[in-house]
């Protein structure tokens, strides 16, 4: 279709002010266009700003720079032609299904009879017939999300925004809801003209979207745009489907081309200012064991291992990247390949593992090395937590500093590199060597 786009984002940037006056950049250089009849997917890991972008489009927040235009008009506040479906359903527990659905029309002060007619039609369309007088608590997760859909559709929006609508549901229920939604969409029975879907599930994106925008983090930006031209209904086992999934994995694990940020991305953790995700040593050991064992024998295809282990990218990527950061594995071209040390770890007994882990931790995690050095140098072999927090806060927010310190502490405890007493917030060398 060549008409003007339903929605257009140009050079959108979003930053939140930090208490110290600096700002935290979450989105940058965001360009997006939604045309009639399209489902556009925003795919990325948590923290990549995709949900923030959705909230900008919904008019729940304002961009720091750039423009969001809906039907050629700039968006200021929630627009009447844009409705949203939430991850946690966001139903009002004190209202019945019918009242929840009618709420949006009530807010528009539509005549009572019309509200009734339209609400019942939406309830009917989404397969909630018979549940009108039920309260949300009486419904299963799938039925609750159907109410979420009915509530969004009843206001006859042009654009439907979906914020990970299936991620709080179990696998079977999610699949049913996806299929039902796609059926209604392709039959044109819903009043909507375009959809924006936020997801961190690669297969879901390939299954539903016409275009996928892959997001990178720190700050959130679009890494690449992938067109999906497979005909609906799509088959997950179709080779071209698999190929597309594989391609997105490659895309998401690709090394950025150049510059300082590229080095950081390749081996994050070069300076004390690096942030670390909370990944337990059990997960690290478990992934290394799995990759070392047959059928992978040291090199695993990410989509394959994700489906084998039933892990979504949000769960798998932090583990894989931590392995890469600790030089236990290489992450490239959608593959996870163990280094010789990684293989040695996987084959080693507990003591051997701890030795290897400790060596890598103190070599490749500057913060761990720093803490260890401070503890070694001091006569008391102890140091306050606040001291390290203060140092970290030069580089990151208070929350991120705390999280990073906790992540490093977890690994250090496993490696027996140093100890920590939560009661009085002190790091120490429990058994000086």
């Amino acid at each position: 279709m060549n008409s003007s786009p339903l929605l257009q984002c140009t050079d959108v940037r979003k930053a939140f002010p930090k208490p110290d006056g600096a700002e935290l950049l979450v989105l940058e250089g965001m360009n997006l266009e939604l045309r009639e009849g399209q489902i556009v997917g925003l795919l990325g890991r948590s923290g990549s700003g995709k949900s923030t972008l959705l909230r900008l489009i919904a008019g729940l927040a304002e961009p720091s720079a750039g423009h969001v235009h809906y039907l050629g008009q700039p968006i200021v506040g929630p627009a009447s032609g844009i409705a949203m479906v939430f991850q946690s359903f966001a139903l009002f527990p004190w209202l019945t299904v019918f009242e929840n659905v009618a709420l949006g029309l009530e807010a528009q002060r539509m005549p009572r009879a019309d509200i009734r007619k339209r609400s019942l039609a939406a309830i009917d369309l989404i397969g909630l017939d018979g549940f009108e007088s039920a309260y949300p608590r009486e419904l299963s997760g799938g039925m609750r999300q159907r109410v979420g859909f009915a509530r969004a559709l009843v206001v006859h929006p042009n654009i439907l925004l979906m914020d990970e609508p299936f991620s709080a549901l179990d696998v079977l229920t999610a699949e049913t809801l996806r299929t039902d939604f796609l059926d209604l969409w392709s039959e044109g029975r819903m009043p909507i003209k375009g959809v924006i879907l936020v997801t961190h599930n690669i297969e879901e994106a390939v299954l539903m979207c016409d275009r996928i925008l892959v997001f990178g983090s720190n700050p959130g930006r679009i890494l690449s745009e992938i067109k999906v031209s497979l005909p609906q209904p799509r088959n997950r086992l179709d080779p071209s489907f698999r190929e597309l999934v594989e391609r997105i994995y490659v895309e998401m694990t690709a090394r950025p081309q150049s510059g300082a940020s590229a080095r950081q991305e390749r081996f994050p953790g070069l300076g004390i200012g690096s942030q670390y995700p909370q990944v337990s040593s059990n997960l690290l050991a478990g992934l290394m064991e799995t990759v070392a064992a047959p059928p992978f024998n040291g090199t695993a295809d990410l989509p394959k291992i994700a489906s084998d282990l039933q892990m979504e990218i949000d769960e798998l990527f932090p583990v894989a990247e931590t392995l890469q950061m600790l030089r236990f594995a290489e992450l490239e071209g959608g593959d996870l390949k163990l280094t010789p040390e990684g293989l040695a770890f996987a084959k080693g007994a507990l003591d051997e593992r701890k030795r290897i882990f400790s060596r890598h931790l103190l070599t490749y995690v500057p913060l761990a090395a720093h803490i260890r050095r401070v503890l070694d140098e001091r006569a008391s072999h102890s140091a306050r937590k606040s001291r390290f927090i203060d140092e970290l806060e030069d580089f990151m927010s208070e929350e991120a500093a705390d999280q990073t310190l906790r992540a490093v502490l977890r690994w250090a405890r496993y490696a027996e590199a140093f100890a920590y007493d939560d009661e009085n917030a002190m790091f120490s060398l429990e058994n000086p060597t």
């Binding site: 008019g59 929630p78 949203m84 939430f86 946690s88 009002f92 709420l103 949006g104 807010a107 009661e423």
Partner: protein
């Protein structure tokens, strides 16, 4: 499992705003004292309908007492919905309003009743009406602060996605308030309301019959019936009053709060299955009654109608330009400064002019005495009730019987029982410094009991199996399992008991039986004597000191203990 506390802690408000709030509150009290003093004399010839000790009047008295209670509740609700909303929505106002609430819940309003009585009687054209206002105001002060706190916290913790849903479906602020904010805050609000009922009954009984100087105001009600019985040394009449109060509280519980708690259950956002829905025969009855159904439908229609009537402005919120914002800030700061200065002025005016440093030191000494009493009593009550509470809580059948009884005992106004104790002290000539003290904790000790019971009930079954499996018994079991597990609950109960005891000191440390007076030295009796003498400056000095003690003890002792227990011993 819910904990029971008509008291709310805020995490981080230990700031200069606290000091400002303290000055504003005490300054306001001083101001009211000053103004009402001038209005006091013309009312000294007050006469009211004489009361009778004939038990046949008790139903009527009880009805009037109950009506005051309802009126107080209603006013508290109105206050809550406005004050808390204002504090939550305006960052600027919240900075001062929230600490003020915090200070207000530490002020012993019981000692302040005399001032409010005179103040309200001077306001109202009919004198009885003024006294009624004062009694209702006393009830209001026992409920409003923590209800407002509870609602404020609810408003601040509305789940982001619910708020976003309301925003994206373009609910008007009015509709958002009634469809989202009020329902969301309702469960906590009702719970708080029920928990602060005990204070309410206590105050209504204390405020119905009040003597200020030579004026005695006696409103027809259970409280003044008891006062008359004390004056006439009629032990039988006191028995009748106690029986009446038991019935009234039972009815209140069954007809008002039980249905409310059952009804409000549907407003809970956490929707974990398997939690037993509280039931109430009264609610079932109401739900099946056409009359009630019609009334609720009408209310619902009214809410919808007003939602339609109040329009959402489709214009986006206008950004206040930075310059104007700065000048607004300046205006706000100067307003606060003016209020604080005015507060300081009145405090200085009242205290410096009419009391001395010597007296202030003396009052501090008395406060220390009362503090000692409160702590010893809490310790004693803990030694008795913690083991019993744990024992009960571990046995579900016993809990089912004991828990409602304990809650009921907490709601019962303990001051009705004082005359019996005083009768004993007078008859056997006991030392009042010691034997009056237990009265302070008579009504509040139950908070320790039922919080500990709740804590013991909340110990997960698996944890019990583990201790049984490893044969952890005796003192080891108490030290490593039972006491740590109930600690967060116990602290909540002890905080409540402590706060309540300070308040009760005002009526407990000075008691009368006919024309015999027994007194325990302490801040409570100081305030009570100042009240009887109509000496407003000493009342203000006494109340100010007591508030200061309560606030400081809360900040330096209870709050750190609360967060320590919460962090370390909370079973999730």
């Amino acid at each position: 499992m819910n904990r029971f506390a008509p008291y709310v802690f805020l995490r981080d408000f230990w700031s200069r705003w606290d000091v400002l709030a303290f000055i504003v509150v005490i300054g306001l009290i001083a101001f009211l004292g000053e103004t009402s003093r001038g209005l006091f004399s013309p009312l000294s010839t007050l006469e009211m309908a004489p009361l009778s000790l004939n038990p046949s009047h008790l139903p009527e008295y009880a009805a009037r007492t109950t009506f005051r209670m309802l009126a107080g509740l209603f006013l508290s609700l109105v206050f809550t919905l406005t004050y808390a909303t204002w504090a939550a929505k305006s960052e600027r106002a919240g900075k001062l309003l929230v600490p003020i609430l915090d200070i207000l819940q530490s002020v012993p309003i019981l000692g302040f009743i005399s001032i409010t009585v005179v103040f309200f009687m001077s306001l109202a054209p009919g004198r009885v009406l003024g006294a009624e206002f004062a009694a209702i105001f006393a009830i209001f002060t026992s409920q409003a602060w923590n209800m407002a706190f509870s609602f404020y916290q609810s408003l601040r913790t509305i789940p982001t996605e619910l708020a976003e849903a309301a925003e994206s479906f373009r609910l008007s602020p009015w509709m958002r308030f009634w469809q989202l904010e009020v329902p969301f805050g309702m469960p906590a609000l009702i719970w708080n309301m029920m928990m602060s009922m005990s204070g309410g009954w206590f105050f209504v009984v204390a405020s119905e019959s009040i003597s200020v100087g030579h004026t005695t105001v006696a409103l027809p009600g259970v409280g003044s019936y008891i006062a008359l019985a004390i004056e006439q040394r009629n032990l039988g009449a006191i028995g009748w009053a106690i029986a009446t109060m038991l019935i009234v509280i039972l009815l209140y519980d069954q007809l008002l709060f039980r249905p409310l708690v059952a009804w409000v259950d549907r407003f809970r956002v956490e929707q974990e299955p398997g939690v037993r829905v509280p039931d109430s025969w009264a609610l079932t009855m109401m739900r099946r009654s056409r009359l009630i159904l019609g009334a609720t439908l009408a209310f619902h229609a009214a809410v919808l109608w007003t939602s339609r009537a109040v329009k959402r402005s489709d214009k986006p919120a206008i950004e206040v330009p930075a310059v104007r914002k700065r000048s607004l800030d300046l205006l706000w700061v100067s307003l606060v400064a003016a209020a604080v200065l005015l507060g300081c002025w009145h405090i200085v005016l009242v205290l410096i002019k009419n009391t001395s440093l010597h007296e202030a030191l003396q009052v501090c000494g008395l406060a220390t005495l009362t503090m000692l009493r409160v702590f010893i009593l809490i310790a004693l009550a803990s030694v008795i009730w913690v083991p019993i509470g744990v024992w009960v809580g571990m046995r579900p059948q016993v809990t089912q019987i004991v828990q409602p009884v304990a809650q009921f005992m907490a709601a019962f106004p303990a001051n009705l029982l004082f005359p019996i104790a005083v009768y004993g002290i007078v008859t056997w000539q006991l030392n009042p410094d010691i034997y009056l003290s237990p009265l302070m904790i008579l009504g509040t000790q139950w908070y320790i009991l039922f919080n500990v019971i709740a804590g013991a009930t909340a110990i997960p079954a698996e944890m019990r199996y583990v201790t049984a499996n490893f044969r952890v018994r005796g003192w080891l079991w108490w030290r490593k399992v039972a006491l740590p597990a109930v600690l967060p609950f116990y602290v909540t109960g002890a905080i409540t008991a402590s706060g309540g005891s300070w308040n009760a000191a005002i009526v407990a440390e000075l008691a009368t039986w006919g024309n015999t007076q027994v007194e325990a030295r302490g801040l409570g009796s100081y305030i009570a004597e100042a009240t009887a003498a109509g000496d407003f400056h000493r009342i203000v000095l006494g109340i100010g000191t007591m508030s200061l003690f309560v606030v400081v003890i809360n900040r330096l002792f209870w709050r750190p203990l609360y967060y320590y227990a919460e962090r370390k011993y909370r079973l999730t």
